[in-house]
Amino acid sequence: MSERTHATPAGADRTDTQTGGRHVAVPRQRAGRRAKPPLSENKRAERKLGWLLCAPAALVMLAVTAYPILYSVWLSLQRFDLRFPAEREFIGLQNYVTVLTNEFWWTAFGVTMLITVVTVAVELVLGMGLALVMHRTLVGRGIVRTAALIPYGIVTVVAAFSWRYAWTPGTGYLANVFSDGAPLTERASSLAIIMLAEIWKTTPFMALLLMAGLALVPEDLLKAASTDGATAWQRFTKVMLPVMKPAILVALLFRTLDAFRVFDNIYVLTAGANETSSVSMIAYNNLIRGLNLGIGSTMSVLIFITVAIIAFVFVKLFGTAAPGSDDGERR
């Protein structure tokens, strides 16, 4: 994402300079792609100012994002266990081989994928329902929206603790609803509870993003569809969904990236017991608890790569998603 935001000012700057020298009065949007005339003194100064204005933000980004990423890549190429600092050495991709052939990694990866796919899918459906409710409500709109957003406002760890106590036999009101045992001590029920907590927590966020998309569907379009003979369901699937597809993709992207890094709920609810660790969990266990900087960093880098792939796929989808790319002319 940061790459895209960086590209915009630079691109705008370029169109500016292309036409600027010849025709100062031409508004930016109209400026077509013409042969590059030499830059005027004025334009050059403006361009320089543009770079200077961007520089602080760019430097901060480099310091807090690029450096840690590069440093962890560097660490991942070394044998570096703080318990045996003397054995530190450069070993190339050996750590990656170790991690990618390890059963625990793949179990965690599977768990993470399962949590990601299930929670995002369920959240999409529930979030859409919630968004429709919030969008359509005529009375008490403010109250409905506030109530729906409460779970999102609670700190994840706090919410996770409340879920943990709720499912703990003896203290919890939910512990014995489905069985007599302790649900958080078995793998299937633990995973279900983790996913439930995730869904409960982030559905409002999904709904919020989708509601923004709903607001983009013109009222007339739905009216036209109803006079054209569409039922409510057909209006939803054939008119609303296609029009709000970009908003849906944004919501899915945000949530998928988020869900893949699931940590807090697992940490509090099961601490990764019974093979419920996510990739973030085992990276944390290796890096912070196990003090194995090499293996831990390798896992972090792998998570980073996976997230990057997910983002890339979604961004690719965006490209073809814009329906007829509605360019403001209509509105």
């Binding site: 013109p218 007339d220 379009l221 009216k223 036209a224 569809a225 109803s226 006079t227 054209d228 003979g229 569409a230 039922t231 057909q234 054939k238 008119v239 296609p242 029009v243 597809k245 329906p323 007829g324 790319s325 509605d326 360019d327 002319e329 209509r330």
Partner: protein
């Protein structure tokens, strides 16, 4: 094909406002009816109720003799064209036009054939594979029309379909709409706020104000015989001139001089509760340069002299703005019309007359000019309720009639 009957149809919104009040209207099969009025007059709400997009609070709506109050829009078999065109952005022109047919579960060949047919009528054939975003305003408008005609509905409902087009294209599309309607013979209800569109398009025009119908009739009849002050002021461009007039000793005292009145009007004004203050209405074309009038015509009217403010030469004739001493005519209707025209807060001193004189007139700005106007064509209105006093059995007969 069907007739549409509105029987005391009203619309009350939950917040207590009444948008439409007891509208009675019978639209014959194949008729082209225009609903016109200033913004907020309830014309769009009325259309939406016919379409089924708004619930009817009271009264009955019948399409083709069948009560449809509680039917969903999809079961009413009507097609609607919107001001925003409301084309589905994710579908091509072909898919847009095929959408209602696909929903009606027609088979593929029939759909293709019908869409091609409609596209041919509207000259859209070369655009069928484009998306709405790549079309111009006029083309989008035609696609919206195509989507309406493609399934041969009982009625077309059009909600200001030309308002988003530029002036030239609007005139062009007006003829397209008119021709299409004649060709298909489908009952059409057309909403507009533009009185020119209303005058040129419809078989009959319904003028609405504040949720109530003011007058219904063919355009020419509304123009010649307006039932009240509002209709008189709304129809016509430039609009009718209004001046205050006082009844005094069997004559009308106005800023243009004392006017004689005929027996019929005198009788009308003799009642105890008859108004003493009236509003005089004269259309711009009923003025003429006094130099260009023959004796025969001169006797039918009266002359006055006034300073010429502005002369606009239109080629075929001249619009001459005269300054007249005295107050402006005031009535609730006139204020509403002025507000709708965006001139509500624009009040110069004295009042102006807009006159439409022959092109041969040698009138020049700044001079004092003698101008004649036709007494047989003037209207007198009661300012308290806006009623046209010169109207007799639906015909307006001027002030001199016996």
């Amino acid at each position: 094909m069907a007739d549409i009957v509105l029987d005391k149809v009203s619309k009350k919104f939950p917040d207590g406002t009444t948008a439409v009040r007891d509208v009675d209207l019978e639209i014959a099969d194949g008729e082209f009816v225009i609903l016109v009025g200033p913004s907020g007059c309830g014309k769009s709400t009325t259309l939406n109720m016919i379409a089924g997009l708004e619930d009817i609070s009271s009264g009955e709506l019948r399409i083709g003799g069948q009560r449809v109050n509680d039917k969903a829009p999809r079961d009413r078999d009507i097609a609607m064209v919107f001001q925003s065109y409301a084309l589905y952005p994710n579908m091509t022109v072909r898919e847009n036009m095929a959408f209602p047919l696909r929903l009606a579960k027609l088979d593929r060949d029939t759909i293709t054939q019908k869409v091609d047919e409609a596209a041919k009528v509207l000259e859209l054939t070369s655009l069928l594979d484009r998306r709405p975003a790549n079309l111009s305003g006029g083309q989008r408008q035609r696609v919206a029309m195509g989507r309406a005609i493609v399934r041969q509905p009982k009625a077309f409902l059009m909600d200001e379909p030309l308002s988003n087009l530029d002036a030239k294209l609007r005139v062009q599309m007006r003829t397209v709409v008119s021709r299409l309607q004649k060709q298909l013979g489908t009952t059409t209800v057309y909403v507009t706020h533009d009185q020119t569109e209303a005058m040129t398009l419809g078989d009959r025009v319904v003028i609405m104000r504040g949720g109530a119908v003011q007058q219904v009739g063919p355009p020419q009849e509304l123009y010649d015989h307006p039932g009240n002050l509002f209709v008189a002021g709304f129809i016509g461009s430039p609009s009718m001139n209004f001046l205050p007039a006082t009844v005094d000793e069997g004559r009308l005292r106005t800023a243009l001089g004392d006017l004689p009145i005929g027996d019929r009007i005198r009788r009308e004004l003799e009642g105890v509760d008859a108004p003493r203050e009236l509003i005089l209405g004269i259309r711009p074309e009923h003025f003429e340069d006094a130099e260009l009038i023959d004796e025969e015509t001169r006797r039918r009217g009266i002359e006055f002299e006034a300073p010429v403010d502005i002369v606009e030469s239109m080629g075929s004739d001249k619009y001459v703005y005269l300054t007249v001493e005295g107050e402006r005519a005031s009535a609730a209707e006139l204020e509403e019309l002025a507000a709708d025209a965006g001139a509500g807060d624009f009040t110069g001193a004295g009042s102006h007359l807009v006159t439409r004189l022959s092109a041969e007139s040698t009138v020049t700005e700044g001079e004092n000019r003698r101008v004649w106007f036709n007494l047989e064509k003037i209207h007198l209105f009661d300012p308290s309720n806006g009623r046209n006093l010169t109207l007799h059995e639906g015909r307006s007969a001027g002030a001199l009639a016996d």
